[in-house]
């Protein structure tokens, strides 16, 4: 990688600002389903993104041709687009100076993936698959591991030189229970339990020992009544808070959405630039940080794709909106401070504003205290359905697991728990925030946005959270 970058900079003709971002992702997926080891799938995805900024225009090119001729062609194509866009770019780029930075960021795993043989990983998954096989009513089950090793190098004509390397793991367990009346799925968290690091993640989340519980949960759900329809208190577990934070805080605060870039695809935002600094987004219990430095969280990094150093920042503090999720170019366009969140899904897509790690800070209540404070409510775990409007306001979410709370006690399990609300008012109903003992690292490998489309990894660490007077409901009659 270093040799390619050095040769690139050496041979580059003069003119404008040019950056080269080399990206290599080596992945391996191992899955055991219904006692059968599915084919191991590996991938070695290696390519480059070239960005040229000159004369008030900007162009980019992504290529898997990493030969000198291939990279020269990429520069020529990016330059061609920079020139073609020079007089009609949406941003004023005449005085824009692209970001630069230097540094090395590496994350180390205590149990690196490569140090365990394929055979041993298969044996682990076979044990998990066997543990999921709890009943004849379990009609489908699988255990899987998806590992990715990421290596990037950013260099530029204004001195950027940033190396980053990390590995990540997405474990998965799923059991489907079915009878003649219904089918119920229970999972580890729908691939939401994803972390940077190696196989130590499996120890942290008690991967193998959770398999029988997941199968048993699916069977319990099959026999459970549907969630009641009523307005009541709602206690959300961290593996549902992931989606709640992601959809109704993260996306509406992305600065490129606020600037209109996403209006044709991912949507606009009910948030406008003038709301930062004063808008009461939630109750005073709500504290949200952008924090790419959390050890093992899924979207941690040292520098974003522009080369901006990643730093923790409060996005919402005591319920008040503080700053948007906007990177260097968006900050230039909007004339306001943001964060280091310029990210691309791969070398074949240009960087745009993304969430990265967006976390809810812990409060001061234990799980027992949160439950004890609810007279009539429902606990929901593990997201299974998500939907929100164009402006990120009217939402509806569904979970795998529900459990009623009556007079401060967890009682009956209910299936198909759903709830709906409006972002602009929902967070003001936040009435209890769990302490650090309830705080969990989760995330998603599947955040979609951008034209051309980009699917990227995000991290969301949150505690248990209680919301008052929420519309909840169950399945179809």
């Amino acid at each position: 990688m270093r040799a390619i970058a050095t040769a690139f900079l050496t041979s580059l003709p003069a003119g404008g600002h040019v950056s080269l971002r080399l990206s290599r992702e080596r992945s391996e997926t191992i899955r055991v389903r219904q006692s059968v080891v599915e084919p191991v799938v590996r991938d070695d995805d290696f390519g480059a993104t070239v960005v040229v900024t000159e004369g008030g225009g900007r162009g980019w090119a992504g290529t898997s041709d990493l030969t000198p001729a291939g990279l020269q062609d990429a520069v020529a194509r990016a330059r061609q687009w920079a020139r073609a866009s020079a007089s009609q770019h949406v941003a004023d780029l005449q005085a824009y100076v692209p970001q630069s930075g230097k540094g090395v960021w590496r994350q180390t795993a205590s149990k690196p993936w490569q140090q365990t043989s394929v055979s041993d990983k298969i044996a682990l998954l076979q044990a998990a698959d066997t543990a999921l096989n709890a009943s004849d009513r379990i009609v489908d089950r699988e255990a899987a591991l998806w590992h990715t090793d990421v290596e990037t190098l950013l260099v530029s004509t204004n001195g950027s030189d940033i190396e980053q390397r990390y590995e990540m793991l997405v474990p998965d367990l799923a059991a489907t229970a079915s009878d003649s009346n219904d089918t119920q799925l229970r999972t580890l968290g729908g691939r939401g339990v994803c972390r940077q690091g190696g196989l130590e993640t499996l120890d942290d989340i008690q991967f193998l020992s959770r398999a029988p519980d997941i199968a048993n949960d699916a069977l319990i759900l099959l026999d459970a009544p549907s969630c009641p329809t009523a307005n009541m208190d709602l206690l959300l577990a961290p593996d549902q808070m992931v989606l709640q934070v992601h959809e109704s805080i993260g996306h509406p605060l992305e600065l490129d959405r606020i600037l209109g870039d996403e209006r044709n695809y991912a949507g606009t935002s009910f948030v406008t630039q003038d709301m930062f600094g004063s808008y009461q987004y939630g109750s005073d219990l709500l504290n949200v940080t952008f924090d790419p430095g959390v050890q093992a969280e899924f979207a941690s990094y040292g520098f974003d794709a522009d080369g901006s150093p990643a730093e923790r920042a409060y996005i919402i503090e005591a319920g008040v909106l503080k700053r948007p999720l906007g990177a260097h170019l968006s900050q230039h366009r909007a004339g306001m401070a943001g964060v280091a969140n310029s990210r691309a899904s791969s070398w074949n897509r240009p960087p745009i504003d993304r969430m990265a790690n967006l976390n809810v800070e812990p409060g001061d209540q234990s799980m027992a205290q949160l439950v004890a404070g609810i007279e009539r409510g429902v606990l929901m775990r593990s997201n299974t359905s998500w939907s929100i409007d164009d402006s990120r306001n009217k939402f509806q979410f569904g979970c795998e697991w529900g459990q009623l709370i009556v007079d401060g006690q967890l009682t009956d399990v209910v299936k198909k728990p759903n709830y709906r609300g409006v972002s602009a008012t929902f967070w003001r109903n936040l009435s209890g925030v769990g302490d650090a003992s309830t705080w969990q690292l989760n995330g998603s490998p599947y955040c979609g946005k951008g034209e051309p489309n980009q699917c990227i990894r995000v991290g969301h660490a949150t505690p248990m959270c209680k919301f008052s007077d929420i519309e909840v409901f169950g399945g179809a009659a």
């Binding site: 799938v41 062609d73 939907s387 980009q454």
Partner: protein, 441 residues
């Protein structure tokens, strides 16, 4: 033979020469050379180009197998070195796994060569047409164009290759906030005036969005769903509704239809028809795809999409590709465009639905939002745009008991999906007139 096809052929010759003993190999190529121009406020937001070539190799030995993907540079020496390394890596994995009881290989040497002609303009020329046509508007969207290639090769002798030179413009013109009109324009031969006309039509429709929006209370409303809105419903079904595995494991949202305990309207017939779009006629495992796979016929289950793996697992015949459709067609009905507002009478004209998801999958109940040009209609006249509403209803009602009529034409809509690569998917769906759709928020 194009450069990319020749390179694929050369690399396969090299790869097959590396095999020893009882080894077999299959290969799937996915490649494109695409221009993407992203637009905001009728100005360029991001403009660029992607050259990518991804090869997936499957090494098989005595029923044991593994797969590995890699990016190709296009340079023979570099790519041979990488392919050699991948085969070595695959040998290590294959030695560590047991024979796969669900492995089904295509051992046919029959090849399909289907190379479309290139009638495309340069992306710079075409996007200038778009920018010029929208200077008095606030247009947001993307132009994508260029060749898309797929190839399959195997040690049994198949060397299939597919190329299409397609373009796609997906755009919306905006008034303020979420008030906007969406349109698309796609194909293989580009006529500037056609795109200008599309933009003009969207701008004219946008004038109707200037009226003060109507906000309706949650409840049941008569509604017309445009073909794009029907596409959003059917698109959700495409996740796992039609696949053999989801149906065999009782996870399909169509399970009650599959079981025969419920049905959709007799008006509803849905097929997978790969010859109608831009998708290759062969799948990534080398099997030829039937010209049509009936999935729903007159409201009843008619068939499933069966991957080679599910075919082996469940004792079915494979339909040649994966279990998510990429070329869905729906039979048309009798309602002409000119009669839609009159037949709707009073209710909601839904231009687009968005962000659909299941609220009760086993019951086929789904939720989603209205978006873009959605109007309140009274006595056959558009009154005003509708403030966005959430629906939560079942397929058995929306495409069953509450379905009054289907439109009499189903426009071909090429997918604008560009996750990882440009999609070769398409749909051909009519609009639908519903007696009721249930709005909840």
């Amino acid at each position: 033979m194009s450069r990319i096809q020749q390179h694929f052929d050369d690399m396969m010759t090299y790869a097959l020469d590396q095999l020893t003993g009882k080894e077999d190999l299959t290969a799937w190529l996915s490649a494109e050379s695409s221009d993407f121009v992203r637009i905001n406020q009728s100005r360029v937001r991001q403009a660029g180009h992607v050259t990518q070539s991804n090869l997936s190799l499957r090494l098989v030995n005595s029923g044991r197998h593994a797969l590995q993907g890699l990016t190709l540079t296009g340079d023979a020496d570099s790519d041979k070195a990488r392919i050699s390394g991948v085969i070595t890596s695959l040998r290590e994995v294959v030695a560590a796994v047991a024979p796969d009881p669900h492995l089904l290989l295509c051992e046919s040497a029959e090849s399909v060569i289907d190379i479309g002609s290139n009638q495309l303009p340069t992306a710079a020329e075409a996007t200038q047409v778009l920018l010029d046509a929208s200077q008095d508007a606030d247009l947001v969207g993307i132009w994508a164009s260029g060749p898309i290639h797929a190839g399959f090769a195997s040690s049994w002798g198949q060397r299939s290759f597919h190329t299409r030179h397609a373009y796609h413009v997906d755009f919306s013109v905006h008034l303020s906030g979420d008030k906007a009109v969406k349109a698309e324009h796609a194909g293989f031969e580009f006529t500037p005036q056609d795109l200008t006309d599309k933009v003009s039509a969207a701008k004219i429709q946008l004038t109707k969005m200037r009226r003060t929006p109507v906000t309706v209370r949650p409840g049941d409303y008569r509604a017309w769903l445009s073909p794009a809105a029907v596409g959003e419903l059917v698109g959700l079904l495409a996740w796992d509704g039609f696949g053999a595995k989801s149906q065999q494991t009782r996870q399909s949202p169509l399970q009650r239809i599959v079981d025969g305990t419920a049905s959709l309207s007799p008006l509803v017939s849905i097929s997978e028809s790969p010859t109608s779009g831009v998708a290759p006629r062969f799948g990534s495992a080398g099997f030829l795809r039937p010209a049509e796979v009936p999935l729903i016929s007159a409201g009843r289950h008619a068939g499933s999409l069966v991957s080679p793996r599910s075919a082996q697992e469940y004792g079915l015949n494979t339909t040649g590709a994966g279990e998510s459709p990429d070329s869905l067609t729906m039979a048309t009905g009798s309602l002409a465009d000119a009669d839609v507002l009159r037949e709707l009478g009073t209710g909601i004209y839904v231009g687009n639905l968005w962000y659909t998801n299941w609220s009760d999958r086993p019951a086929g109940r789904l939720t989603g939002m209205t978006r873009f040009a959605t109007f309140w209609v009274e006595n056959g006249e558009l009154v005003a745009p509708l403030s966005v509403m959430r629906f939560d209803d079942t397929l058995e009602r929306m495409l069953g008991s509450e379905l009054i009529a289907l439109g009499n034409h189903a426009p071909l809509s090429l997918s604008s999906d560009t996750y990882e690569k440009r999609s070769t998917g398409s749909v051909q769906l009519p609009g639908a007139l519903l007696r009721q759709i249930r709005f909840t928020l």
